[in-house]
Subunit: 491 residues, 2 copies
Amino acid sequence: MSKGLPKRSENYSEWYNELVKRADLAENSAVRGCMVIKPYGFSIWEKMQRALDDMFKETGHTNAYFPLFVPKSLFEAEEKNAEGFAKECAVVTHYRLKTDPNNPGKLMVDPEAKLEEELVVRPTSEAIIWNTYKTWIQSHRDLPILINQWANVVRWEMRTRMFLRTAEFLWQEGHTAHATEKEAMEETKQMLDVYAKFVEEWMSVPVIKGYKSANERFAGAEETLCIEAMMQDGKALQAGTSHFLGQNFAKAFDVKFQNKEGKLEHVWGTSWGVSTRLMGALIMAHSDDNGLVLPPKLAPIHVVIVPIFKGEEDLAAIKAVIDPIIKELKSYGITVKFDDNDANRPGWKFAEYELKGVPVRMAIGKRDLENGVIEVARRDTLTKETRSLDGIAVYVKDLLEEIQVAIYKKAFHFREENMFKVDTWAEFEEKIEQGGFLLCHWDGTSETEEKIKELTKATIRCIPLDATEEEGKCVLTGNPSNKRVVFARAY
Amino acid sequence: MSKGLPKRSENYSEWYNELVKRADLAENSAVRGCMVIKPYGFSIWEKMQRALDDMFKETGHTNAYFPLFVPKSLFEAEEKNAEGFAKECAVVTHYRLKTDPNNPGKLMVDPEAKLEEELVVRPTSEAIIWNTYKTWIQSHRDLPILINQWANVVRWEMRTRMFLRTAEFLWQEGHTAHATEKEAMEETKQMLDVYAKFVEEWMSVPVIKGYKSANERFAGAEETLCIEAMMQDGKALQAGTSHFLGQNFAKAFDVKFQNKEGKLEHVWGTSWGVSTRLMGALIMAHSDDNGLVLPPKLAPIHVVIVPIFKGEEDLAAIKAVIDPIIKELKSYGITVKFDDNDANRPGWKFAEYELKGVPVRMAIGKRDLENGVIEVARRDTLTKETRSLDGIAVYVKDLLEEIQVAIYKKAFHFREENMFKVDTWAEFEEKIEQGGFLLCHWDGTSETEEKIKELTKATIRCIPLDATEEEGKCVLTGNPSNKRVVFARAY
């Protein structure tokens, strides 16, 4: 680390970009809008994947894999979906390069290897999957189909930011098929609950569950449910979506089943996804001016132990005491790094592990050894204490659990403080500049939503599932409304 | 199952294709040469992934993720690599579709959204990764870099077959960078050993480790090591490769490091990969005319229990006895399916689970219950026995371990029987028609290898690592040779 991070209060955006790079999470690549996810960043993503995958399997889903490419004729079959993604898709038109005759050593597209039909690199897989489901589904006995896929997708975004918006990103996409509307809607809601549970309990980020307005709905869905999280600058980040597709894709791809009464019906569908965007949410929800703050459940290293020593003898004495502690910690499933690399000074290490968000740091020197104590530092609060070596492993195990909860509470408290009931337009304009979630009445029209976006860059993040019915007037038009929705600027 | 599989002895190729489809492993998709990996097939692949990933991590590697796309200028930087893959790569030329004005409801490539530089969909990632390593490596302290990536890659193969050769496939690709030639060569060999261990111990498929001849070497490598397995038709299947890249990519991408003496040197590299092709090897090595035979370590379901019952009362009595057995089996990490679905008859179920390769099937009816016994059937040998219910869970646990070994031994024995020392050309021509591996002297020239391929379709599968030195004459030319190599027809 040559110098400190930019401060959040001074330049939040720069702080984020620098943090992503310096903490070795990701970096921009030679390919426009595509990032390289570096080993440390990827190890956090792997933990997310494992936890989510377990939750998907617990709820009866299995993984499968569908092609990367979508032939244009399938891509365009569901009209709204096609319209939504056509503007930003990568298109494969040729299947060969050849030596450029005018430029020895260089290659060019071989005009003789033009595809008969262009292939779209999947921006999402409903089209290719529903075209497959067509052959899998004949009878109600073939339903439900509960499939998930871990994959890369490409959306040719013009303005990209690492993790938050990249041309290629990694995600999972669930695609389910059901015999009834009710069952499909239950699945849509179940998966939203799975996402909310994961984001709250693993990422320690509180979320609001709600419906998207028509403007923000997934192209091709009847209803989009989402979870919205607040970042430290008061902006919203959509952390996951679960779509009720109705019979739209079944109709576009002619997917019918014989019901128990022997009648043919179109199948009902859902799709749901979370992506490497969650990494962005994780970083922006908790980290500080010293670097990452990671919830223990997702931290690649839970505890780092830094010995303070001069020479091999000191180190050996420390090791003799620390080794059994490390062993005990590991027996609790805790990942420990003992950093005795003498090329770096302890102060440098402290800063480095703060930057990397290691939840607990312990340091021990010769005198500590004599006194039977060790220094324990918490990354989330940046506090330190000296503890007896007796029972230290159990203490640290409990501390990690405490940190997991503390981080959540801190984020929850921050959100509470930055969520406002707003009833007048003047107040809306003032508050939106300060950042935060504005709970407002809205007249339910797309026109009003668009007008508000135009005036303030704020959009409806969601219509909360648990919104209470109350009489009110639209914050912009004064037209009647019966519940408050969440407005915010968003990533 | 409408009717039985084609027989291996009558049409091996059709047997394979039908088995892949009927056992719900994979199917062809709407995209030329790309397959859909179905849930049952994918769950086997997931087990492979998990085991391999653990082995990579144990040997010090971490995962990361690099972009799907390789800009043409990077793709062409390492000349031999570019030459090797240019002929079969998917090329993205545009980033948008638009409504076709002559064809309402249809989309077309938007000519205004042409990329300045074409993007190649990665057929392998050396180029994009070494271009990244350039910025990561300055000093010997930055080495080694030991990274693996799980990804999809695309090679525009003209003749495709599910799992064995598909336009898109899933794989892992390790890419490592080292300070010395020796270390890079050790890594190359270490990863070959990891692959051999996995294929032999998890897949129960014996392999021969060896060097590829220059003709069969990876484009851009100095040396390619491989493991070769024999399929039941006597053909060879390359199951994994590990490449010593020398300094080729370091030179192409100008990747240098300062060594301990302060001098700049080019970095040494390796790459290594296995793919969903392993699924093809697994299927073709063990399965029979009744369906899949899976080694227990990779079977999604280890044990299926089929109750033979008439009515709820029978079933309840069976369940009361079987439930604790299932519980005990699960406590050993064994996956059990209890199939009491009364829509299908037991005979249908037996055939179905044979098709799916479930290693152990148990069946129990009312009379068995009275006698305190259960029928245990082994998938690999198709043998049945009646066993006491006492201690049955432990028996099955041991049986699964026995099956894992038995499958390996059977495949090993088959290979031994179909591997021949051949010293004359007449014998070569005769034996190669029967299938199998021919151990022959070869004069070491590419010309001879090509001539033999032309005449017999056989290639050098590898020059075994453990080949003994012996004086001999090339089987085709009679020129001197000092060791035998493996010739075979290959997938």
